[in-house]
Amino acid sequence: MPEDAAYKFSKRRIVSTALALVVLFGLWYAFRPEKLFVNKRVAEPPPGTLGQLTPLYTGSFHSAARDTSGRATVYQQPNGSRVLTVSNFSTSSAPVLDVILLDGRSLANSQNFTPSDINGRDIGEIKASQPQQSYVLPADLDIDRFNTVAIYSADLHAIFGTAKLDAF
């Protein structure tokens, strides 16, 4: 009967349409093609304890005249002053070691120099055996220019290691 045939036809159509929709949904869910065009931007604040210190620059130490390792980081304190910290620090021991911030452009002969040869600012003494140390930086120091932390031994007249500071 024609009525029956029409009924069957439409039932099959409903089933196949439903199946097609399920398959399409599955494909969409697996590939999520709209994500090719849709970006999701988030902007979470730094974790609570961090509010006090903002990292500005960081870099790893590389050995020069002696094995030297660790990280140098410049933080900004809430009062605006900047602090240089070395962490995980290790170098060869020497009677006196100085931390010098060097003008990155004057490092052609970085392993052996007289302090007058290069452009640098002495920040203070550093202990080879202490993994974590901090120094308050002079307010007028331009870190984009004096961007290399050098561990300098006046006695041996040598740079033990350097860390180039990159913007954080």
Binding site: V42, L50, L53, R71, V83, T85
Partner: protein, 136 residues
Amino acid sequence: MTIRKLVKIARAVAMFGATALLAQSGTIVATGTFHGAAHSTSGRATVYSDNTLRLTHFKTSNGPNLHVLLIAATDAQDNDDFIKKGIERVDLGPLKGNEGDQNYTIPAGTDLNKYRAVSIFCERFSVNFGAAPLDK
């Protein structure tokens, strides 16, 4: 008292203040920058002393079921499949957004000497979108 001596004392005082401040607040434990060409990924991943992993200047391509992983390797290549390679991982959860600054909590007791890189991993297709080696 010489000026040199005075400068030394002033430095010692300033250093003490700075060290005290650093002791009480979160400082950087390890950090590194993302690389990933196939699904261009960029930005910085940093572990802070309070067990937070923070992504900054972060950007990757959006995708299905992206997760932030710490992997037991020093780095990862584009499209690496850690499951196939049998690389251990710590899942820090779904990626909150494919752009922008975001924080994730690292489970207490996670050994960062073992898990030395961050990966943005597509769980649906087991593909590394981008990775950042964490240097101490």
